[in-house]
Chain length 105, copies 2
């Protein structure tokens, strides 16, 4: 089973293999997908910097790949990882830390 | 805390509030985000059909919102839900069911 790179970048959801927490969302082109498979660590395509990005290359917080699972449309990838450290550049373990207040709750 | 809709659609990751499984990834425009907040159920923007989409309106598998969490960049949203049924149009509970074979594993 392979991703469909014909339409656009692959949306990638990274979760902690142990806690199941969602750590971050990032994007992959075919080259970063292939590097991820080959190296066993996450590689992404930075849409802002327009370059390949080995997660952790600056911070040391690499992510070791445990499992890769494609969605029904083959355009979104779920990656279970063992993270070496925080996923977020802010130092938070996960990029998702800002709660939205809901009406009536 | 509010999403940033100035750049593009909001990428949304839907997880099961009880099991923490990732159920699906979809996109929101500002109108679907507002409807989600107001109704307490997930609304998305269908990029293929180019229309608002109340998840479950056809299948009955609505998703009741438990918690909404924005990422550090305010352009990705994590939604914890209690789903009424399978998230995937294939009948799978989650859209992520196709494992990628890794080299050397």
């Amino acid at each position: 089973m392979k991703p469909d790179f014909s339409k656009e970048l692959l949306t990638t959801v990274v979760v902690d293999a142990k806690t199941k927490d969602v750590l971050m969302v990032a994007w992959m082109n075919e080259e970063s997908y292939n590097r991820t498979l080959k190296s066993g660590q996450t590689w992404f395509w930075s849409r802002s910097r327009k370059e390949l990005w080995h997660k952790g290359e600056t911070s040391g917080n690499f992510q070791d790949v445990v499992e890769l699972i494609l969605d029904c449309d083959l355009d979104t990838l779920l990656i279970k990882v063992n993270p070496h450290g925080p996923a977020c550049h802010t130092g938070h373990r996960s990029c998702f830390f800002q709660n939205v207040e809901q009406e009536g709750k």
